[in-house]
């Protein structure tokens, strides 16, 4: 009974780690390229987040299943091969069913192959843990990344257009801040959000 409770607690901790304590963007500063590049609006950010969840989940499952067969000097090659496969499938899916979004995201979907979050989780978690822990870790980390991207994109879209999900939120008198849709807006918003997260963490500790 005690062991069952402990297992549930470990799984809970693994899931929550991706959302806050080991959040890929705010705490580990991984995946900065898509974080800065696709957060001009919430829709592309959400699509990128879902793509990362899919790739992270699938690669964690495959790596976890083959972890006992991996040769140490070939493991990075195997991780890259696994990740590239699922990224290609994801890219084809977007081109087939969401062509406009695929165009908006441009090269950033294929670039998930070199996203450090995925390879980091394959190395740090999936190659050392069983299937259940790897799945929970993949979902937790993927959700953490997606939520972060959406928060960043929400702030930028709101200030750049006065809208969120193309729905008018700000009053008519609001003057849009065009700079927020540009790269400078991404850097400033990310910097301010990082400062906020650090301040909250300090207060908590």
């Amino acid at each position: 009974m005690a062991s069952e409770t402990s297992n549930t607690s470990v799984l809970g901790q693994t899931f929550v780690a991706g959302l806050w304590d080991e959040n890929p963007v705010f705490r580990l500063l991984l995946g900065m390229c898509p974080t800065l590049a696709v957060t001009a609006a919430v829709k592309p950010a959400l699509t990128m987040g879902c793509s990362v969840i899919f790739v992270l989940l699938c690669s964690n499952i495959v790596v976890s299943l083959m972890r006992n067969l991996l040769k140490p000097h070939l493991r990075i090659l195997m991780f890259t091969l696994t990740i590239a496969t699922f990224v290609t499938i994801c890219d084809l899916f977007l081109k087939a069913f969401m062509p406009e979004m695929s165009e908006t995201l441009g090269p950033y979907v294929p670039l998930i192959i070199v996203n450090c979050i995925i390879i980091c989780r394959a190395e740090a978690c999936a190659s050392k843990n069983g299937l259940v822990v790897s799945v929970i870790d993949g979902i937790g980390m993927g959700l953490g990344f997606t939520i972060t991207l959406c928060v960043l994109a929400g702030v930028r879209e709101l200030l750049a257009t006065g809208k969120i999900f193309e729905l008018q939120v700000m009053p008519d008198s609001f003057v849009p801040w065009a700079a927020m849709s540009m790269p400078v807006g991404a850097f400033i918003t990310l910097g301010l959000l990082l400062a906020l997260v650090n301040a909250v963490s300090k207060r908590k500790s």
Binding site: L74, L81, T85, L92, F93, A96, F97, P99, M182, P183
Partner: protein
């Protein structure tokens, strides 16, 4: 023999995985390729229709025209004839590719039925910098090219962008991308006219 055994021991997982992953990608590609191609066709036709508003349908007039852009390898393109509801030819459109600032730029360019003036262009694909190079998608450059005589174009940094002539005023902050668009026009138009004349579509 020992060496082969060692090689297989070390790499069997990689070989098996490569085969399985390759198969997975092949299945996904086979299942979705028709849809992806259809999406591309729909987008191309939509852009051609936006450029040649009188067109009712498009049919391939000349296949596989080889054009060498300023940089890169020669590319092949098809010329589409735009036909109105009465079956009359109202213009021609083709896809043109050239090097931009960040990556290749793919344009849909349209000319009138006599290949004497441009109807304009639309960007089919580009990865130009957001906020700068991607301004080629906006109307500023497109409007300058509407009605311009189909011949050699020249890019200038300052000038009257409302005047319809072969001097095209570059977009501020997107000079390289503007030059890429003008270079694409210059690389393609003579070849396209030559092929249309050879096939007897224009005089």
């Amino acid at each position: 023999m020992l060496k082969i055994k060692h090689f297989i021991e070390q790499s069997w997982l990689l070989i098996v995985s490569s085969f399985c992953f390759g198969l997975l990608i092949a299945i996904a590609s086979a299942a979705w390729s028709p849809r992806i191609e259809q999406n591309e066709r729909d987008k191309r036709n939509k852009l051609m229709k936006e450029l040649i508003t009188d067109a009712n349908s498009f049919e391939v007039a000349v296949e596989g025209v080889e054009v060498r852009a300023k940089k890169g390898r020669p590319t092949k393109t098809d010329i589409y004839k735009a036909v109105d509801s009465e079956g009359k030819s109202v213009g021609f459109a083709f896809i043109a590719v050239g090097s931009g600032f960040a990556d290749k730029i793919k344009l849909v360019i349209a000319v009138d039925g006599r290949c004497e003036k441009f109807f304009g262009f639309k960007v089919l694909a580009s990865n130009e910098t957001v906020g700068f190079g991607d301004k080629i998608k906006e109307d500023y450059l497109g409007n300058q090219l509407k009605g311009v005589p189909a011949g050699e174009l020249e890019l200038v940094n300052t000038g009257d962008d409302k005047k319809i002539d072969s001097e095209i005023v570059a977009i501020s902050g997107a000079t390289v991308s503007s030059k890429a668009v003008v270079d694409i026009f210059n690389a393609y138009i003579e070849k396209i006219r030559e092929h249309l004349q050879t096939k007897g579509f224009v005089e």
